[in-house]
């Protein structure tokens, strides 16, 4: 019998090795990674937890069976199940885009290895091991972020730095809580643990002023690898935060929890909204759009209610659509301009790379939270939830979305600028923007718009996921 947790850890690692060997080909490794991620996502969602299932050759898979690995327990719980399904399906989407926009990059094998590590982080108990696995994943992601022949991935280095700085707080918190269990009179231990946790998660989530890695991780790296970090890696950190809140429920009932989370999110929204329209390069713009989105998710969590948690979870579910499209568009445009993503260098490139341009614009619409896009689904619900109690924060959220949109508009106007020479005016697709790329972009755009038009596809999943957590009141 194969235990489910072991399968989720070992299969991505094994396929990562195979994919690395096959990396000289363009399609095979990417499609193998897509297939593996989809299969694992499907297995996590559909296979029953309480009974083993027969698969090939009379073998059985028991998804709910706990595994002891080096003396630590790995167990697939209901909340982790949905979180892992999100990670696998979102990864499949990113690998699908990488097939056309980052072929033969280390993102594909490293992405699979990261999936294994982050799955381990969600499965393992106690939580100190999860923190260590997230740190190892951050170190590995540097390899995926560094573009071959490109500038040094300083964003990757910063990401690694901030994750490393967050590690001590998470590990010491666990010791403090163990000590508090022995000496409940020492309430100072709780205050110290809460402060350390707040600082550690501020570093991991890119809360202002620790946000510098967020724009950098997209601006000078492989954009889709940056998206992987900001969706899958960041998603794992969010689920780790929820696990901490679930394990130590006094954290969410702390009198300052709401205000602290709200201020953190508000800071990210304001900084992202201010800096996004000021960017002359599209790479940092994508990063600031992600910062606004993360900030808005924190504001939703700051509502300290089941609705707020559902909206936070919904934001992770839809973020890969917008961010993935933006990163894919950015990759395509960089490939056409020789690696430069300055608006001046991209002048008139929209006619030569129409599909990359379309991906960037539709992704930007979603990240700005505009209607008929995936991002609108949860932003609209957030505006409605916030409006009665805090109309000013709704205004700031709208302005931040507008800031992102201004940045995208600025890029688009440069991309569609009419070239000076007549020979450059014909609409000729570059080799990077061929019909296969068009198919991939159209599928991704249809997915993004489809979720925007039919939110009932993803909203119940977020609500179901929120039900598995008990640390917040309804």
């Amino acid at each position: 019998m194969i235990a489910g947790p072991l399968l989720l850890l070992i299969l991505p690692l094994a396929v990562a090795g195979i994919v690395y060997i096959l990396l000289r080909w363009t399609s095979l490794p990417a499609l193998l990674a897509v297939g593996t991620s989809l299969a694992l996502g499907w297995a996590v969602v559909t296979l029953p937890m309480d009974q083993p299932v027969h698969v090939w050759g009379g073998r059985q898979i028991a998804m709910g069976e706990a595994v002891t690995f080096f003396g630590r327990e790995l167990v697939l719980e209901q909340a982790d199940r949905m979180a892992m399904a999100f990670m696998f399906f979102a990864s499949a989407g990113i690998f699908f885009l990488a097939w056309r926009f980052a072929p033969r990059s280390l993102l594909i094998p490293m992405g699979l290895a990261l999936l294994s590590l982050l799955s381990g982080a969600l499965l393992i108990r106690p939580l100190i091991y999860a923190a260590l696995l997230v740190e190892i994943a951050a170190a590995l992601s540097v390899f995926a972020l560094q573009a071959e022949g490109g500038t040094i991935a300083r964003g990757g280095l910063r990401y690694l730095t901030f994750t490393t700085l967050a590690l001590p707080g998470l590990l010491i918190t666990h010791w403090l809580m163990d000590r508090y269990a022995l000496t409940p009179d020492e309430t100072g231990l709780l205050a110290a643990a809460a402060s350390l946790l707040a600082l550690s998660f501020a570093l991991l989530l890119g809360v202002v002023p620790f946000h510098t890695w967020v724009p950098a991780v997209v601006s000078d790296s492989v954009p889709l690898a940056g998206t992987f970090v900001l969706t899958i890696g960041n998603g794992a950190v969010w689920f780790l935060l929820f696990d901490f809140l679930e394990t130590y429920p006094w954290l969410s009932s702390h009198p300052r929890f709401e205000s602290l989370v709200f201020i953190a999110g508000f800071g990210m929204v304001v900084v992202g909204g201010l800096f996004a329209p000021a960017q002359r390069r599209l790479g940092p713009l994508v990063g600031y759009a992600a910062l606004v989105d993360s900030g808005a998710a924190l504001i939703a969590l700051g509502l300290n209610s089941k609705l707020g948690l559902t909206l936070s979870l919904l934001s992770f579910l839809v973020r890969p659509f917008g961010l993935g499209l933006m990163a894919a568009g950015l990759s395509g445009l960089r490939a056409c301009s020789g690696g430069d993503d300055d608006v001046d260098a991209l002048r008139g490139l929209g006619l030569r790379a129409p599909w990359s341009t379309a991906a960037l614009v539709f992704g930007g619409l979603s990240m700005a939270g505009l209607p008929v896009s995936a991002g609108f689904v949860w932003r609209w619900a957030l505006y409605r939830a916030l409006a009665p109690s805090s109309p000013s924060s709704v205004l700031f959220l709208l302005l931040a979305g507008l800031g992102v949109m201004v940045g995208v508009w600025r890029g688009l106007s440069s991309l569609l600028m009419r070239p000076g020479a007549i020979k450059d005016r014909s609409v000729v697709s570059t080799p990077h923007d061929n019909w296969l790329t068009a198919v991939v972009v159209v599928v991704a755009i249809l997915g993004c718009v489809g979720v925007g038009l039919f939110p009932q596809v993803v909203a119940p999943i977020a609500a179901q996921l929120a039900e598995t957590y008990t640390f917040l009141s309804p």
């Binding site: 490109g150 730095t161 590990l171």
Partner: protein
Amino acid sequence: MPTLVDILARVSFLAAMPAVAGILVTAGLLVVSRDWRLDVTALTLQYFFVVLLLTRLIRLEVAAVKGLTGWMICMVFYLTERRASMLEQVPSDEEKAGSRRWKISARASFCLLAGLLVSVASYTAALRFPLPEVPADITLACYLLVGLGLLLIGLSEAPMQVGLGLLTFLSGFDLFYVALEPSLAVAGLLGAVSFLIALATAYLRAAQIAIEGDRSTS
């Protein structure tokens, strides 16, 4: 032939303030110097002094394994920088400046001053906020490693400098954390984290050299 554990047992008389002084000197050298040979030597010695202090908190064999991991990291840095220096045809401005003896650059002076300030702050912190479960001298060593590691990270964006800073920071934390959590699994994972940080920064350094090589040939 004496084993590593025997050697560590013989020099255990250094595992107090002399080791802390050694940590101050080696971490200070990492902050001030930009010569990779000096940096790798300082990091190697720093791991030696950290292992000496670790022998007071955990079993000698476990401390020896942590030391071996550290020295393997030094080997990774040595091989990367040696390869880089072979590929670099023209010495950089910093190397030219470094070759001028008895002259301290403005950058080195600033780093020295900043290092001194951080060291004084670490000493004050060790007196005012003693760490639980560890003796006073080890508390000082932890604060020095964490403070100077953070300074190193903040002073440069070069992959190797940041890597050295992260490893120094982690050494300081590890020295404290082994007293709280003596689990072998945690020790192993922390070792893996350090080694992967070294590999990641060495990879970025190799990419940097490749880019510089491309620029010089074009």
